[in-house]
Amino acid sequence: MADVTASDAALRRFLHGLPGVDAVGLEGRAAMLGTRSIKTTAKAYAIDLAISMIDLTTLEGADTPGKVRALCAKGVHPDPADRTTPRVAAICVYPDMVKTAKEALSGAGSPPVHVASVATAFPAGRASLQVKLADTADAVAAGADEVDMVIDRGAFLSGRYMQVFEEIKAVKQTCGRADGTSAHLKVIFENGELATYDNIRRCSWLAMLAGADFIKTSTGKVAVNATPPNTLLMLEAVRDFRAATGVQVGVKPAGGIRTTKDAIKYLVMVNETLGEEWLSPQWFRFGASSLLNDLLMQRQKLSSGRYSGPDYVTVD
């Protein structure tokens, strides 16, 4: 599909030529999938899968090495009382905490818990390309396995698609390491700022064409983050992208997913839109912090038959 990114005009024509999104229909479909009733064995499977898909996140101005180390320990052994609990997929931090997280996870063994770093002047992305690339390079140099970049929403909304495309490509290049490997790139749209479903579909294709390994809904820092409909739309986009190009891209909803019930709704959407091939931490992630404890409480309930309480899961 190289020709669609050959020029600004070609890219614009392609993105504006994608099928429209009917908001009522999309929201209706997401709501219908939300009525699936996931019980007993299916629930146990979904809870463990959801835990293994979490990018356990702390993105606060008040983050300290101590806080990050505590989060890393939690990611490796989410439930200290039950060592059969799966590990989370990654710990997600700001670039300056990558080193701390890498050290904290160094002796954790297998399967590895990755370190994901936000970058490119997260969350606003309002910095020069030079600064964004330096931010990315810094995170990669500190050992980040994954980079969560934000797009320039201003450029996207003013129709400068090629600028957004080139920026993603440049960040992707910067994710490359000296040994030829590359940090995984997740591209954050900030759906709440893109505002329309048509924009979200266009942005999905734009990011995938530019080489995103994952597309991610949001930073968690604005009013509207991941919602079932906007995530469903991105799932449809990765499905169609693979059909068109053969390249499989992952999806990460982030922000606002706090309960087991919510998480299971997202897994149902993945299951019925993309199927088994995407049902692994390699292709689907949850960007979340408080979700993990709710999953753990539900997991304890399933194994013991009774509800525990917030004092039976760890607070970090």
């Binding site: 099928p19 229909g25 999309l26 699936r36 019980k39 088994e276």
Partner: protein, 476 residues
Amino acid sequence: MAFAYAPAPESRAVVDIAPSYGLFIDGEFREAAGGKVFKSISPSSEEVLSEVAHAGGDDVDAAVKAARTAYSSWSALPGAERGKYLFRIARIIQERSRELAVLESLDNGKPIRESRDTDLPLVAAHFFYYAGWADKLSYAGWGPDPRPLGVAGQVIPWNFPLLMLAWKVAPALACGNTVVLKPAETTPLSALFFADICRQAGLPKGVVNILTGDGSTGAELVAHPGIDKVAFTGSTEVGKAIARTVAGTDKKLTLELGGKAANIVFDDAPVDQAVEGIVNGIFFNQGHVCCAGSRLLVQESVADEVLDSLKRRMATLRVGDPLDKNTDIGAINSAEQLARITALADSGEAEGAERWAPACELPSTGFWFAPTLFTGVTQAHRIAREEIFGPVLSVLTFRTPAEAVEKANNTPYGLSAGIWTEKGSRILWMADKLRAGVVWANTFNKFDPTSPFGGFKESGFGREGGRHGLEAYLNV
């Protein structure tokens, strides 16, 4: 390991079905005068649910007399008082909605997700809506004091047993009529539960009478000289017979009959949502929907793309136990209907259309039909012309908007149509030209009590729902 959903059955314990039921006449349940009974079975398991009385001529007579007696005081009540009863019925339906949803899924075979999320909320909404009209008839546009018609004889189908009851009973009572209603032979139970709700609401005796039976009971009812109004929803064939019976009398008649709706997808349609709309159009309620989008008209330039998406989506439909909360497609309502669907689908193959259905395991007992689509269908095929009333979609293509209109209208029916395009002006242009009672734009099978519903041509006449729905029950 795949994400397989464990069974999630809705509890049957919430509904208590008696081993036998009588006819509901003059506020009491009583046996049929002739003592005849028939069985109502669950189409998903063929289990006998209950034995119900089979009303004959004497019972029809008794019910009409009871309704006639009740009419004088019921029609004399102030509208606000009638409204109170209807509001009360609506609230009781809401309170008992889980029980009624389970009952409906057991007796009809429809998935609990639909009876719970579509049928029951709409049933309650219909009663609430017409309860609101009861004291506002003077402002409905028919002068200061429009009068009711008298006793209404109502015959309803098996596809939405309780919802069709609501469509008939709510406006009739709001306008001051009394009713004798005959539910379908295969789905009598929810109407009998409704009789109980009428008693619970303290509705005066004789205002609502329920006669269970088969086609012969319905024929006796519509032919009875004591009724003033006939309302029927069902097949075109029976509708025609009723029209012949009523001809020459001063009974008023409304008919809501079959359909062969076109669901028209243009090349600029929102594809993913259009596919959802196609699925909802034809597989909702196993396709047992008079306004089902049973003919897909897709623009040739996007036909392959749409069909690929549609097949992928159909492969995710979950067919099985109607009481499982994750079931999308339940059981076919009766052996008779299954035979009819099977015969028409076979004719599609015999006439050269290409049949496709996703791999899906059907239960061994009960009546089942896998969601099926036919490509390469032409206007000359039986499956493009006759109402199948099952989960079978006929796919045709078109090249221009004018051709789409021509093909969509080229049917003896005219109940509904769907248009899928992002272009607003085309929606308006199409809606103007389609001869169908309901035209949905970028959606399908959406119902609302405020919106009138009814057909063109052989799909019937008269409107149900909305302000228009009052007209069928007023002497105006």
